[in-house]
Point group: C2
Chain length 215, copies 2
Amino acid sequence: MSKLRVESFTLSIDGFGAGPNQDINNPLGVGGTSLHGWALSTRTFQKYLFGNDGGATGMDEDFAARGFQNIGAWILGRNMFGPVRGPWPDESWRGWWGDNPVYHVPVFVLTNHPRPPLVMDGGTTFYFVTEGAAVALARAQDAAAGKDVRVGGGVNVIQQYLRQRLINEMHIAISPVLLGSGERLFEEVNLPALGYGCTRHEATPLATHLIFTRQ
Amino acid sequence: MSKLRVESFTLSIDGFGAGPNQDINNPLGVGGTSLHGWALSTRTFQKYLFGNDGGATGMDEDFAARGFQNIGAWILGRNMFGPVRGPWPDESWRGWWGDNPVYHVPVFVLTNHPRPPLVMDGGTTFYFVTEGAAVALARAQDAAAGKDVRVGGGVNVIQQYLRQRLINEMHIAISPVLLGSGERLFEEVNLPALGYGCTRHEATPLATHLIFTRQ
């Protein structure tokens, strides 16, 4: 059974999934990059983001790696895809990740503004979905052909799927970082009331890892 | 130099310092007791709360123990003192802790409703302060005679002192528990903007311990 999963989504201690004022120089908002200290050194992130061999192993790596296992499609909010707001002025913005993005599978980008699919190197195609979260999920599950679908974020997109109880499993990392403001994942989302519980809790020197499962 | 400290204040993963609907059967709000799993088994809490010898040692105990070291006075919000709301109907409510409370020093209770001091066994006297947080702090520091003052909570009281940048050091434990609703410590409190940073981060199987220090 194909699952809808959140993986390696990182929050600050004060609950923010991204810093404020995202722009082209701050894809994760101001201060947002500091969130991802636990992940950046791992073997998985070194390989996927930078094409490097090597990198840290251990618990952080285990969590980073599981996020790429058995994933057949991704769903991203439009702000994760890029800093452009409103209608696409042209087709020059092709994501944060260069010609060969980290995904290597179909990626469904939620947006209010239509745009033709964008075929990248390495197996990634970005599809722009204007019909909302439910349609994006149906298309992603279809494309995943039995594998799982990973919701990359951001906060607003994860919240939409949580409120519909559509997420089966969610891995959240809490980094020992304060952002002060930004978008709160747990704002107006009552996880216990939605049937979610914390089913695993592991800590490393760089982060606290939590798994939430829908009961 | 006498410090104002928060110690062993525990939050849920979703950021709540207490559960909703506090009443006489739920001093920490519904579900709030589950927050304190890391603390209840420690040697310090066994001794202070239950008068038992023994209890767990290790990192959780180290954090629990430091919360009682060099403390000359406490400040509590009225809701931490008890479930009574509005004017005191009589003097029958004497706190949650029996005749010999855990404090053993003067305790200043912030309230809008005056009441004479309440002398308990074992060195604890509850003083009811109606002149606000600044006056409570001045009186507590005076009573502490050079030792530190500990702010016990709740959320609202800690926030008042944080916003005034009066807290020098704050130990927060995050338990792997979801509460879903309640009072959020980090709501409308921008710690980095107030000059606070996370200066220590330790994790145990039961909690993530964080120390915040004002810079």
